[in-house]
Structure formats: C-alpha cells, structure tokens
C-alpha cells in the first residue's frame, strides 16, 4: 500500500513541480503567443497533477478514514523531503532554450512512461494516462520544434541551446533509475522506467541531430529526486508555491 501511494505521489509531484516551473513564464514569455503556449502546457500538467493528487488522497482516506487528505493538503502541506519528483523538473526555468529543451526531454520520457501506464493494474492511473497522452503528444511537438528552431537557428540561439543541454543533461539519467517504490510495483501498477532509456535516447538524438546539436557523451548522472533528495532549487519553488496556503490556511479564492 505504501509503495502504491508513494508511486501516485511521485507522478503527482513530477507534474506539479514542472507545472509550477513553467508557470513562471506567465506574463514573461518572449512573445504573447508563446507566453500562452507555455502556460497552456503548465495548465495541462497541473490538471494531470490534480488527478494524481485526488487519487492519492482517496488512497489515504480509504486506508484511514480520519486522515482527511485532499489534493490541496498533499500539494501545499508536504515538505521538500516528501516530494518525489525527479530533479529534471525542478531545475530553474533559465532562458527560453533551457525551458523548451527541458520540456522536450521530459515530455519524451513522459510519453513513453504514460504509454506503459495505460496497462497499469491501477485503473485510475491507466485512465489518467490515457487522458494525459494527448496533451503530451502536443508538448513533444511544440517543444521539439523549439529545440530544432533554436539549435539550428542563429549562432546566438545555437549557443544558448548548447549551454542549456550542458546544464540539463546530467539530470536526465535519474528519470530511468527506478526508486524503491517503482521497483516494487514495476510491471503491475508502475511502469518499468529502466526500459525507457533506449527508446528515449533514440527519439532525443533524432531531434538533437536535426537541431545540429550533439548528444552529450556518457557522464555522471544525478539521480536522487525521486527518493526525496533535491537540488537547492526545490526549496524556492515550494516556498513560493506553498507560502500562501501555509500562512493563511483558510484562504479561498
């Protein structure tokens, strides 16, 4: 039961944290149309996160009827070490190159993961996966276009993409290292992420090639996020996201 809950929270935290990161562009996008595009993606991810959190809350409340968990308490009242998102999604948004590249690298992973989750023995997860896949398909199309556009663009945009790739790459490896709760559930409730690295690398290298960027070689990979150990960027996100709820717990819209 614990692994099951941890896994749903892992899926929820991953989408929530990236939604929060992308939402930082709201009102700051490079052009109005793209400001709307990135915040649309943010809202897609937030919607997915809400589905997972509601599911997690019902798991908690079923096990313990006095728990009174809900999506808000799970998103706003848990501390950094309880968040199970991979490090990739918590990295600072950086410039447009870094934001679109990170989205691309994540979306390709998410697409592969969700396709496997269609067969999850948790039918709620399978249903969320089915709904999310359409959104992810668009995220890949949108972000890969930007990676190609900037990578194969001007010398300035190319060098920004190179910088972004160097900054982000070491945080991709963690996506494919299963956390203990994933290992326990792989093939039943959870997807076996260790199998996703090969197809992911294939898709990513195709797009990078078109973007005239070279796939970084084997290097040290950070991999701690899913077990609750985060980068220094994580505390700032949670501070911004949770402070209102924590200082004014009864506030409503």
């Amino acid at each position: 039961m614990n692994a099951h809950l941890d896994y749903v929270l892992h899926l929820a935290d991953t989408t929530l944290v990236l939604a929060q990161r992308n939402s930082e562009w709201c009102g700051h996008g490079p052009i109005l149309e793209q400001d709307i595009a990135i915040t649309n993606i943010s809202l897609d991810l937030l919607g997915q996160a809400r589905n997972y959190y509601q599911h997690a809350a019902s798991l908690i409340n079923t096990a313990n009827p006095n728990a009174q968990a809900d999506e808000d308490s799970l998103a706003y009242l848990r501390d950094e070490r309880e968040f199970k998102n991979p490090l990739l999604v918590e990295l600072e948004k950086g410039d447009w190159a870094k934001t679109t590249l990170r989205q691309f690298l994540f979306s390709v992973f998410q697409d592969l993961q969700l396709k496997r989750l269609l067969h999850s023995t948790d039918t709620q997860i399978a249903a969320i996966a089915e709904k999310s896949l359409k959104e992810t398909a668009y995220h890949i199309a949108w972000s890969s276009e930007w990676v190609i556009r900037l990578g194969d663009g001007t010398p300035e945009s190319h060098s920004r993409m190179v910088t972004a790739l160097n900054e982000v790459w070491e945080f991709t490896g963690g996506l494919f290292v299963p956390a203990p709760y994933e290992l326990q559930l792989a093939g039943t409730i959870a997807a076996d992420v260790s199998q996703l690295e090969k197809p992911w690398t294939e898709t990513v290298s195709n797009v990078l090639e078109e973007a005239t960027l070279s796939l970084p070689g084997k290097t040290f990979m950070q991999q701690s996020g899913k077990t609750g150990i985060h980068t220094e960027a994580m505390g700032y996100i949670l501070a911004e996201m949770q402070s209102l709820k924590r200082s004014l717990p009864t506030a409503t819209w």
């Binding site: 052009i31 709307i36 649309n40």
Partner: protein, 139 residues
C-alpha cells in the same frame, strides 16, 4: 498540388492587370487605422518582429471557417500551433486555417458607396420569390 498552381496563375494575371490600370493595394488590417490607401509595398517592420497572420477557425457545428483574429508567428506551422494555443483553448474549433496578413487584400472603405449601394434596390435578386424545396439545406 493543383491549388498552388492556380494561385500562382491568379497572381500573374493580377500583376498584368496592375500594369495597365493602377490598382491600389490594401492590406487586411491596414484599413481600420488609416482608412486610406496603403502603400503598394509593405511598411518596413522591425526585422525582429514576427509576421502577422490571420486566423480562421471552424467550430464543431460550423460549416465554414470564420475569422477569429490575428497573431504573430515565424512561419505557417508555428502560426497554426499558436492559433491552437490562443484561439482554441475553450474548445472553439476543430479546424484551423492561417494566412499571412500581407496576402489578404481588402476593398477600400471609401469605395463602399460605389461597390455596395447599387445592390440596395435590386430585391429581385433575393431568393424570396421562390419556394425552397425541403431538401435544400444551409440556405
């Protein structure tokens, strides 16, 4: 691609007419501000500004694409994606057309009297004198 050929052909014949009689060229979007003839070459823009596109959306029930607004994009593909993000967020449509604004030509508002008023007293052109058969739809 027969459609493309046709377009090119039309363009050619337009150009040859333009040489005989001077056609004032109006760009869609120029009209509201100026209400006067636009220059025959586009106004030079800041090269960092992306081209303007007009967006047409067909709704689920709709039979035709309707003009919904405009946006900026670097090319047609991006214009369609931007249109999806800007104009279909609330399930407004199931099909998108985009056309670069500079390729739309508009009638001159100053010519309105000449162009449209003469039709005002020709009520016999309306199909109101006929009984429409039941089977005829979308009239």
């Amino acid at each position: 691609m027969p459609k493309k050929k046709l377009l090119l052909k039309n363009k050619k014949s337009l150009n040859s007419t333009a040489m005989q009689i001077q056609i004032k060229k109006f760009y869609y979007g120029d009209i509201p501000e100026e209400k006067s003839s636009a220059p025959s070459t586009p106004v030079t823009r800041d090269e960092h500004e992306w081209p303007l596109w007009e967006v047409f959306i067909r709704s689920k029930q709709g039979l035709d694409h309707k003009h919904v607004g405009s946006l900026h994009a670097t090319d047609a593909e991006m214009a369609i994606k931007n249109a999806r993000d800007v104009y279909t967020r609330r399930q407004e449509g199931i099909s998108i057309w985009v056309v670069e604004s500079k390729n739309l030509h508009a009638s001159n508002p100053d010519d309105a009297a000449m162009l449209y008023d003469p039709a005002a007293d020709k009520i016999y052109r309306h199909p109101s004198f006929y009984n429409l058969p039941e089977e005829v739809k979308h009239m």
